[in-house]
Assembly symmetry: C2
Homo-oligomer: 364 residues x 2
């Protein structure tokens, strides 16, 4: 049983401005890693640039991170970090820029081939990362994981090391205020998925559960707002905390089959990561319920939900579009994802036939 | 609002043996820092030596840490670490060796005068520390604090830096099995005090509360066993977890007046640290109750207690010897401790007269 989460957290409105002195300890030049729009739209980029300028820290910007970033995309960022001779990285965005920044930080300090990133530990430690989430779902700001798209294998793969945790994370819910409702829901469901997959997991332990349960309680408070679409600032703060807590929990345990089964829905069907997970969650909980009814019941209680039916109804309200696969796709995805390594964390011995039955619920 | 707890935790029976590979990353030579008896009696010293030998890591032993270690005592350890040219420290014991190891780690890498330790950050980072608690109370394995006795000022003082957290802590309740009941109680009450002082504190935040509340729930489970004296292994595991959680909470907030008022009871009257805190806790909770009744009530609920009377009864059962001060001492201690810096964290504006009234309850 172990626990590790070395990221220093600053949280609350204006936490970057109020902790501006944090940055200068990281060096003289930063690479800001972000996507094309979210960093700007959220206001986080302006806040970061303002603080860097005040501290006389130079910076370059790599704003080309793709949604579901590829290995090549991150390698390009790593080459820029090398060329620019930066001392550290400031990652701003949702899961894509945050995950990409971990690979970029590693490419920046190591001469490796792009796909060697999946070997994990490298000769040199990666650059330090300051993470600024602009969505409330990924939890990447407090995990060691970087999930990258590998086109040659037609899937997503992850790497992690003890040194790919962000050194500092700033959690300011203001940066999530510009998110459209759809992304707010999808990312919240990603956090929900993290919490459930962390507890309903062979690797769960007391430490990860403390965080996962707290995340579930917070998400439970936010469910009515997610359904009604009335997302207040207070709800955004709750969701950002929940996302972080859920991230801490999966940092200890990893995810399980919902995540591995969700990847083809993203890779082949273009669903967002949270949406992909959300379409599989009810089936997963039903499977877990057969293995450990009392635990599933306890977790539903934290969410403020009566039973599996109510859980399924909530997910259907949040994500009504469900008939997206052909039967052939359902078969193909099951045969592919049953080989994923985190299948071993599932609390029952899930079979390919069961995975197929989960996907089959999503057929046209 | 911030959170930082970079220590990697390994927990459970035989966690040192089961994670022996952790040590070699720390270097080729260790200084084992401990007191005269507890490391040996607990079995922790044997386990550590066995793992170091297996990994071909050389070691020296500094087993002269005093109860309530003085600055000079730690300085002596630091000089040994320098002379032995060790790469890291393994600290085994209760709060005294664990706190001493933080000072020793700092003296080992910096040429400073003994009392300069209280300046905090030094030119060089301290040696890395692996911490093995053998009591369940201090939480020092997960805090940045080192509390040292300063004879020239007739009190205890603390120092801390971001680098004085242990890098790794091993929590094996077997090492607490040899503790006599009195120390088990005193240390458990120290953890209780940490939890309460962290929440009933102007610096409390959501992150520290998550841990402090969990600690209170665990201590609540252990109270009947502490009173009856029937301390099973399961209770020892609960207390060790509670102590760690309470430590994480004070690492965020610091302690408040119970700790500063307890120091003279230890310095002048020779009470253990936990006993000193325990004699003041009821008075402290009464004061807090006037400032925030609903919060105190909530916290008593986590402990499984009805009200302040029941809390006071529990403490009187655990620590019956209470008439230990003269009126002159009560006055002197109040006038001294009202100047402590953590008085500012108290949730109400405590006066010297109130502090005197707390001490006066302990007069003969």
């Amino acid at each position: 049983m172990s626990f590790f989460m070395p990221t220093k957290l600053y949280s609350g409105r204006d936490c970057i401005k109020n902790n501006a002195s944090v940055f200068s300890a990281f060096g003289k030049k930063a690479l800001i890693v972000t996507g094309r729009t979210s960093a700007k739209a959220s206001g986080a980029l302006d806040d970061i640039i303002s603080v860097l300028q005040k501290d006389n820290i130079a910076y370059d910007i790599f704003d080309k991170v793709l949604n579901n970033p590829t290995v090549e995309n991150c390698y390009e960022g790593g080459m820029l970090a090398k060329k620019s001779n930066v001392d550290f990285i400031v990652a701003i965005g949702g899961g894509s820029p945050l995950d990409a920044s971990k690979a970029i930080a590693m490419y920046a300090t190591n001469d490796i081939e792009p796909l060697d990133i999946f070997l994990g530990e490298q000769k040199n430690k990666p650059l330090s990362i300051i993470a600024v989430p602009t969505t409330a779902g990924t939890g990447s700001e407090v995990t060691q994981y970087s999930v990258l798209t590998v086109d040659s294998e037609e899937t997503k793969k992850s790497f992690s090391t003890n040194d790919t945790f962000a050194t500092v994370a700033f959690l300011d819910a203001r940066y999530t205020e510009s998110l459209p409702l759809g992304i707010t829901i999808d990312t919240a469901v990603d956090a929900l998925s993290h919490s459930l997959e962390s507890i309903l997991n062979k690797r769960t332990n007391k430490f990860s559960e403390l965080y996962a349960k707290e995340a579930l309680k917070l998400i439970g408070k936010a469910i009515p707002a997610l359904i009604s679409g009335d997302i207040t600032f207070e709800i955004r703060e709750i969701l950002l905390l929940a996302s972080m807590y859920a991230g801490v929990s999966i940092a200890q345990t990893g995810t399980t089959v919902v995540h591995s089964m969700g990847y083809p829905l993203t890779y082949y069907k273009g669903l967002t990561h949270g949406n992909a997970n959300g379409l599989l969650l009810s089936s997963f909980l039903e499977g877990c319920d057969k293995a450990n009814h009392s635990l599933v019941n306890e977790l539903l209680g934290y969410l403020g939900l009566e039973d599996l039916n109510e859980f399924d109804e909530v997910l259907k309200k949040l994500m009504p579009n469900r008939n997206i696969l052909t039967n052939e796709e359902a078969k193909k995805f099951a045969s592919k994802t049953i080989k994923a390594k985190n299948v071993a964390s599932c609390i029952w011995d899930i079979t390919e036939a069961e995975e197929y039955s989960f996907f089959a619920k999503l057929t046209k």
